[in-house]
């Protein structure tokens, strides 16, 4: 240990040194590249946990949402064709039927998107607007997704699983990124 009085400059300022772990955590948190994804993750865990915990009480509204999604798909198709029917959650197009269950209404996408908006540095009202309008936009995109699936199922049945299970799951991120970017461009004000 050197004595400052011998002419050398002390390497650390006086006072107790900060624990290295806290210092590292602070530096990481100060970096938006780390902070934003971490905040999204925190919001995602919070929203997901609350949603999961209240799933039993939400069963009714969620059932209504999937029925409403099915009805919206039916109404959309009716603009172009008469060859569509609706029975509860079941929509058919020219003989090809899909059942709209709760996993089909874009809920995961909406929750992920909401976490991204809530973690963004914007006024709370702007974030609230972003969550509501963005979820509506995702709902509309999801309608187009289901209509596409009906068309694929009717005309290219072999590719139905490919589009249903894999392709659309992979592109859900594009939907979230697109809606998030649109929200930032249109609504975010400092």
């Amino acid at each position: 240990m050197s004595d400052p009085s011998d002419g050398e400059t002390p390497l650390t300022p006086p006072g107790p040194p900060e624990p290295r772990a806290i210092d590292t955590a602070r530096r990481l948190w100060a970096n938006p590249q780390i902070r934003y994804p971490l905040l999204v993750l925190v919001y995602l865990l919070a929203i997901g946990s609350v949603f999961n915990a209240s799933l039993a009480s939400l069963r009714g509204p969620l059932e209504s949402l999937s029925a409403w999604t099915a009805a919206s798909v039916h109404v959309f198709l009716r603009v172009f064709t008469e060859a569509t029917t609706l029975r509860g959650h079941l929509v058919t197009f020219d003989g090809f039927a899909v059942s709209i269950i709760i996993e089909c209404v874009g809920l995961l996408e909406m929750l992920i998107y909401s976490a991204c908006v809530l973690a963004f540095p914007a006024p709370i009202r702007t974030r609230a607007t972003g969550v509501v309008l963005g979820c509506v936009a995702i709902f509309v995109f999801n309608l187009l997704r289901i209509v596409t699936l009906l068309l694929v199922g009717r005309y290219q049945n072999d590719y139905f699983d490919f589009f249903h299970v894999y392709f659309w799951q992979a592109t859900l991120i594009a939907m979230i990124v697109g809606v998030l970017y649109g929200w930032i461009r249109i609504f975010v004000r400092r």
Binding site: R27, A30, N31, P32, Q33, I34, R35, Y36, P37, L38, L39, V40, L41, L44, L45, G48, S49, F51, N52, L55, L108, L111, I112, A115, C116, L118, A119, F120, P121, F162, V165, Y166, F167, Q169, A170, T171, L172, I173, A174, I176, V177, G178, Y181, I184, R185, I186, F187, V188, R189, R190
Partner: protein, 165 residues
């Protein structure tokens, strides 16, 4: 907006190509790879009886990540390749972790929160690894909406994403 169209088209094309590759054998090979690699890792961390493959439908989350990293314009090659390698490795770690969540949630359906995180992971990793570009997109979006553009890549920027104030 015009710049976004080719990027979006590129993303769709790459996603379709990668999904086709995944469907045509990629997922089988990955499943075999995971089955040979995962058990020793689970053994080493004390979860020897963990089941591999319970979440196999979720393993496809590497596709949107790779798509985003490949189409993001303006990323240097080193950032792109390094980001892809780092992100794919973290997704692999995520798959290993995802299988473990089955142990604490023994329902017939996949646990909700882990599935949510798994689906969001490609987006979060893309933000992390493509930050030089993503930060500019965020800043330019703010600028185009009537605000001055800032470079939020610096840690001291008050407009940088992540500051919820």
């Amino acid at each position: 907006m015009k710049r976004a169209v080719p990027v979006l088209l590129g993303f769709v094309l790459i996603t379709v190509a990668l999904t086709w590759f995944w469907e045509e054998g990629g997922r089988l090979h990955y499943g075999r790879f995971l089955k040979s690699v995962a058990p020793p890792i689970y053994d080493a961390i004390g979860f020897g009886d963990a089941r591999v493959g319970a979440f196999r439908q979720r393993y496809i989350n590497w596709v949107p990540f790779a798509g985003l990293m490949l189409v993001t314009p303006g990323l240097a090659w080193r950032q792109r390749v390094g980001g892809l390698a780092g992100g794919l490795f973290l997704l692999f770690v995520g798959h290993l972790a995802l299988n473990l969540t089955e142990r604490v949630h023994e329902a017939a359906q996949l646990p909700f929160v882990p599935s949510l995180v798994s689906d969001a992971l490609p987006f979060l990793l893309w933000i992390l690894f493509a930050w030089p570009v993503v930060s500019i997109w965020f800043a330019s979006a703010l600028a185009e909406s009537g605000q001055p553009a800032h470079d939020p890549s610096g840690p001291d920027d008050p407009n940088a994403p992540g500051d919820p104030s």
